[in-house]
C-alpha cells in the first residue's frame, strides 16, 4: 500500500505539493489526475526517493523507498527517464538487471512482454517514442514488481500505443498487483482506473472510486421536444437550450421532467438522463 502523509514540497517560493495525504489500495489501478503543473510528477518522484519532500512522508508498505529491502519490487516509468542513445535496448536492460542482481534471462522475458525482441539489439537512439516507452516499461518490469508507478505513460503515443498501455495495465493488475498512474488525459484513466485521486495546485481535491465520483457530480437530463420553448418556460432557469428543439436540464430527474411534460400536454421526442463523465467531474472539482 502506498501512503502519503502531510506530503509537502516547496521549490523556493513555489509550493508544488501542499500537505497531501492519501492512500492507494493494493490490487487496484489508481488514476492520479490533475492539470499540468498540479504536482503529480513531484509526488510520484517523492514516492520513489528521487525528490526529497520538504515535510511529510511517502511510504510503500510502511517504508520509504530508499529503505525497501528490494526496491525492484516497485517498478516505475517516469517521463524524464533517459536512455543512452548509443546503447542497445538489451544492453540497457542488462546494465540495470546486473545492478539489481536479477538473472540475465529475465532481460529476454521482459523484452518479450513489451514486444521489443526484434529491436533489442538495435541502438535506442533509433527507437520511436512508443518503443522507448516500452523499453521503460521493460526496465520497470525487470524485478517482477508488485507495484507499478507510471507517470503519464500515454503521453506522445499513437492510438495503438495508448491501447497497448491500457491493455498492459489491465493485465498487470489482474494478478492482484497495484498501479498508480498519473495522467492529464482523463479519458485514458476513466477506462481503466478503479480509483481516482485528483489533485490541483498540490492539494488533494478528491479521492474516490471512479463510479462514485461521477455519480457525485451532478448529471443532466436532455429533453427534445417540438414544444421546447413552452417546456423551457415551465422548467425555468434549471433548463438551458442545448440546440434547436433540445434542452439540458440540471437538478431534475428524467421522471420529473417527463411528468411535467405530460401534465402540460407537451410531446417529447427524446428524454435521456446523462451520467456525468469523469471529465465533467474533474472540471467541476478543479474549477476556480
Amino acid at each position: 500500500m502506498l501512503v502519503a502523509e502531510g506530503l509537502t514540497k516547496r521549490y523556493g517560493k513555489v509550493l508544488a505539493v501542499d500537505d497531501l495525504s492519501f492512500q492507494v489500495r493494493s490490487g487496484t489501478i489508481t488514476g492520479f489526475l490533475g492539470p499540468n503543473g498540479a504536482g503529480k510528477t513531484t509526488t510520484l518522484r517523492i514516492f520513489l526517493g528521487l525528490v526529497h519532500p520538504t515535510s511529510g512522508t511517502a511510504t510503500i508498505d510502511g517504508k520509504p523507498y530508499d529503505r525497501l529491502e528490494r526496491p525492484a519490487r516497485v517498478g516505475a516509468v517516469l517521463e524524464a527517464t533517459g536512455f543512452y542513445p548509443g546503447r542497445s535496448g538489451r544492453d540497457h536492460l542488462r546494465a540495470f538487471a546486473t545492478a539489481a542482481e536479477i538473472p540475465i534471462q529475465r532481460v529476454d522475458q521482459v523484452l518479450a512482454v513489451v514486444g521489443l525482441e526484434d529491436a533489442a539489439n538495435r541502438r535506442v537512439g533509433g527507437y520511436s517514442l512508443g518503443m522507448r516507452q516500452r523499453l521503460g516499461i521493460a526496465t520497470a518490469l525487470l524485478g517482477d514488481p508488485e507495484i507499478l508507478i507510471l507517470d503519464e505513460p500515454a503521453n506522445g503515443l499513437d492510438p495503438d500505443g495508448i491501447r497497448w498501455i491500457r491493455e498492459f495495465m489491465r493485465g498487470f493488475v489482474g494478478d492482484g498487483r497495484t498501479i498508480l498512474v498519473s495522467s492529464h488525459v482523463l479519458a485514458e484513466i476513466a477506462q481503466v482506473a478503479d480509483d481516482v485521486l485528483i489533485i490541483d495546485k498540490g492539494r488533494l481535491v478528491a479521492q474516490a472510486p471512479v463510479a462514485e465520483l461521477t455519480a457525485r457530480t451532478s448529471g443532466a437530463v436532455r429533453v427534445r421536444s417540438p414544444q421546447a420553448k413552452r417546456l423551457h418556460e415551465l422548467l425555468g432557469p434549471a433548463a438551458a437550450v442545448e440546440s434547436e428543439g433540445a434542452l439540458l436540464v440540471q437538478g431534475r430527474s428524467a421522471a420529473e421532467v417527463g411528468e411535467l411534460a405530460a401534465a402540460n400536454g407537451i410531446v417529447l421526442h427524446e428524454l435521456v438522463e446523462e451520467a456525468a463523465t469523469l471529465e465533467e467531474a474533474f472540471l467541476e472539482l478543479t474549477a476556480e
Binding site: 528521487l50 525492484a72 527517464t81 546494465a95 540495470f96 545492478a99
Partner: protein
C-alpha cells in the same frame, strides 16, 4: 556492492565514448612514441631512457574524461533516474562509481603500458639505442603510470559528481590543468607542487618538491575532498 560495480562497468563499456576514448588513448601513445623517438638522438635516448616510455602520461586528460563520464555522463543522458531507482541509496551508487572509475582507469593504464612498452621497445631497437623498458627508472615510471591513471580516473569521477555536468567538468578540468594550475603554481612557490595536477604528475615521475609517495598522498587528498563535495551534492539534490 559488487553487483553495482559490475553494472557501472557494463554501462560504461556499452557507451560509444569509452571504447572511443580507449582507442584515442592508445593511438596517442603510438604517436607520442613515434615523435619522441624520431626527434631524439640515440645519445639523448640513452641518457634519459624513460622518454619513449612516458607516453601514457601524455594522455591522462583522456583518462580524466573517462572518470567524468562515470558520474556526469548519467546526468547528461538522464539514466541517473533509472540508476537511483534500482539503487536508491545514492552513497552506495557513488562508491560503486568510484570503484568502477579506478578499475577502468587501471584497465586503460594496463592497455596503455602494454602498447607503450611494445611500440616503444620496437622503436628504440630500430633506432639502435641501447635502452630497455626493464631498466630501473623506466619500470618505476611505468608502475607510476598504472597507479597514476587509476587516480586520474577517480579524480574525474569526483569532478563529474561535483559538477553533474559533463561539459562543465571537462572544460573546467582542461582550463584548470592546462592554464590555471600552472599560473597558480608559479605564484604559490613550492606549495604549487601540491596542487592536483602537480600531485598526480609526481606519481608518474617525482619532481623537485614532491616525492612519489607525497604525490600519491596529495592526490588521494584531492580526490577525497572533491569527491566528498560531489557526494554531498548528489545525495542532497533532487533528481528531476
Amino acid at each position: 556492492m559488487t553487483a553495482l560495480v559490475k553494472s557501472e562497468v557494463l554501462k560504461l563499456w556499452t557507451t560509444r565514448l569509452v571504447p572511443g576514448l580507449l582507442l584515442t588513448f592508445l593511438g596517442l601513445i603510438v604517436l607520442y612514441v613515434f615523435v619522441a623517438v624520431s626527434q631524439t638522438s640515440v645519445t639523448d635516448i640513452e641518457l634519459s631512457p624513460e622518454g619513449p616510455f612516458a607516453a601514457a602520461a601524455a594522455g591522462v586528460i583522456l583518462v580524466l574524461m573517462l572518470g567524468v563520464t562515470v558520474t556526469a555522463g548519467e546526468y547528461r543522458h538522464g539514466t541517473i533516474t533509472a540508476t537511483f531507482l534500482v539503487a536508491p541509496r545514492r552513497e552506495r551508487v557513488l562508491l560503486a562509481k568510484l570503484v568502477a572509475a579506478l578499475l577502468l582507469g587501471f584497465a586503460f593504464a594496463v592497455a596503455g603500458v602494454v602498447v607503450n612498452v611494445g611500440v616503444g621497445w620496437l622503436a628504440v631497437e630500430l633506432k639502435g639505442a641501447d635502452v630497455s623498458p626493464f631498466d630501473g627508472a623506466v619500470t618505476e615510471m611505468l608502475g607510476g603510470t598504472l597507479l597514476g591513471c587509476a587516480l586520474w580516473s577517480a579524480l574525474g569521477a569526483a569532478i563529474g559528481a561535483a559538477t553533474r555536468n559533463q561539459v562543465t567538468a571537462i572544460v573546467g578540468a582542461v582550463v584548470w590543468f592546462l592554464i590555471a594550475e600552472p599560473l597558480f603554481g608559479s605564484l604559490l612557490d613550492h606549495w604549487g607542487s601540491y596542487l592536483p595536477g602537480a600531485a598526480l604528475g609526481a606519481i608518474f615521475e617525482s619532481h623537485g618538491d614532491l616525492s612519489r609517495t607525497g604525490g600519491i598522498l596529495a592526490s588521494l587528498g584531492w580526490i577525497a575532498l572533491i569527491g566528498a563535495i560531489g557526494a554531498v551534492l548528489v545525495i542532497r539534490d533532487d533528481v528531476n
